[in-house]
């Protein structure tokens, strides 16, 4: 970053430093505007453009920006530009444009002002230049102050503590609605729905089919009566009975009775052969 004389010079540099040459700060532009060839390039880089250079000249000469003496300022500026040209530095068009502007203002200042018909206030040819200078100076200072604000990674760091998580897989959630939709998709796909409309009663039977199969998991014969849970009440018993019949029909269980009124045994159809 190049440093320049500025009220709000970036931290660490004296205000009067206008640039650096070979690492040594340059504190002043030479009074007579003779600029050593090596320094010129440095100085050119030190300014952000013609407005910046003009502001420097104005502040340095302690000129009231609201009442700029155009003749000496223009002369100084032109000398500076001339010096740059003398050293064959490629002058940015912006610098030449400003030179033309200054000359134009100066000539308008020198002309006798034509008496105006009305009492309208006079136009100051410098007004626009002053406005631009002040607006630029304002932004230049604002930039320096922004740069001084504490900034992350330069002046402080965000705190970021590692988040420990159990290495459990995040399980998908399923809602009843999902199940319903899934079934409807199946139904839509096939003609299943005509044959397999699921009724509540049927579902209850199917639930008991599963319960009975779980009770028969030992692969052994179980006494028929023990399959029934009497706490379920009459309706439950009927459903359990229907479930058993359905299991028989689907050939999932085998029911045996050696003789009339003898105990009825139930066994999973896939169980290893018991006594037969």
């Amino acid at each position: 970053m190049s440093a320049v004389a500025d009220v709000a010079a970036p931290a660490g540099l004296p205000e009067s430093v206008v640039g650096r040459m070979y690492g040594e700060p340059i504190f002043d532009l030479p009074k007579d505007l003779y600029i050593p060839p090596d320094a010129l390039e440095v100085i050119l880089e030190a300014f952000e453009g013609p407005l910046d250079l003009l502001l420097y000249l104005i502040r340095k000469a302690n000129i009231n920006v609201l009442d700029i003496p155009m003749v000496p300022l223009t002369a100084q500026y032109l000398e500076y530009v001339e010096a740059m040209r003398h050293h064959n530095l490629e002058l940015a068009a912006d610098y030449l444009l400003m030179a033309a502007t200054l000359l134009e203002i100066k000539s308008r200042m020198l002309l006798p002002r034509p008496p105006r018909a009305d009492d309208a206030e006079e136009l100051d040819p410098r007004a626009e230049l002053v406005r631009r200078l002040l607006e630029y100076e304002q932004m230049k200072r604002a930039a320096a102050r922004l740069d001084q604000l504490p900034r992350v990674e330069r002046d402080f760091e965000w705190v970021g503590v590692f988040v420990a998580e159990k290495v459990v897989e995040r399980q998908p959630t399923v809602t009843l609605h999902d199940l319903q939709l899934a079934w409807l998709k199946i139904a839509r796909q096939s003609r299943l729905k005509r044959n397999h409309t699921i009724q509540r009663e049927e579902l209850s039977v199917r639930e008991h089919m599963t319960l009975i199969l779980r009770k028969l998991s030992d692969d052994t014969f179980v006494v028929f009566e023990t399959l029934f849970d009497h706490t379920l009440g009459p309706a439950g018993l009927v459903v359990s009975f229907l479930a058993t019949l359905e299991l028989v029909k689907e050939r999932l269980v085998v029911v045996t009775q050696n003789e009339a009124f003898a105990p009825i045994y139930v066994k999973r159809a896939d169980a290893a052969a018991g006594f037969d």
Binding site: V163, P172, L176, A187, S190, I198, T210, R251, L252
Partner: protein, 193 residues
């Protein structure tokens, strides 16, 4: 302030570096915080002090392969999870349909499921449901190959907040609506009963 002027301040520097570090810091790195190397032992003792200081807090100082770092305690995961934007993953259509068939038609074999869905049911689908603890094999059908009979488990009911299978959403009503609304969309003209 180039060197901390007290042991308390020394600890604060190490704590602050660990709080802001994007990765675990080994002792060798922590020594570099100071202009004059405090040595490994002093740093290590300070780390142990910090571990104590953070007892009972929401984060803890732990030693990992890469060095020391602060991390949140597992008990706080339940809170932090609520801030996560990401939705939990969704099961594929195949998994959901298989689950629906097992739930509504249990006990069913893999073949039954394939008959109903009209496509082959991959092993992964059934594995996903089994490892979730939602379905299991409750028996075998006495047919060639003795295929396993799948049914839903108690955990399935619990996880979906059901007391019994009869509390599954009834399908008749919606199927009726579907017959009215969606019929034109089916491939083959369905036969109305």
């Amino acid at each position: 302030m180039l060197q901390p002027d007290s042991t308390e301040e020394f600890k604060r520097v190490i704590e602050t570096a660990l709080l802001a570090a994007p990765a675990p810091l080994p002792v060798s790195e922590l020594r570099r915080l100071f202009e004059d190397d405090p040595g490994a032992e002093l740093v290590r003792n300070t780390l142990f002090e910090l571990v104590n200081d953070w007892q009972g807090r929401g984060a803890e100082l732990v030693q990992t392969a890469g060095g020391w770092r602060f991390q949140t305690r597992l008990e706080y995961q339940v809170y932090l999870d609520r801030l996560k934007q990401e939705r939990p993953p969704k099961y594929s259509r195949a998994v959901l349909e298989t689950l629906a068939i097992i739930a509504y038609r249990q006990p069913v074999t893999r073949g039954d499921i394939e008959d109903i869905r009209g496509v082959v049911v991959s092993t992964n689908v059934l594995k996903a449901l089994e490892s979730r603890g939602w379905v299991d094999v409750v028996g075998y059908r006495d047919t060639p190959g003795r295929p396993g009979l799948y049914a839903t488990t108690r955990k399935f009911l619990e996880d979906l907040g059901l007391r019994s299978l009869t509390e599954l959403p009834p399908l008749t009503e919606i199927e009726r609506i579907m017959d009215l609304v969606d019929l034109p969309k089916t491939e083959e003209p369905a036969v109305q009963s």
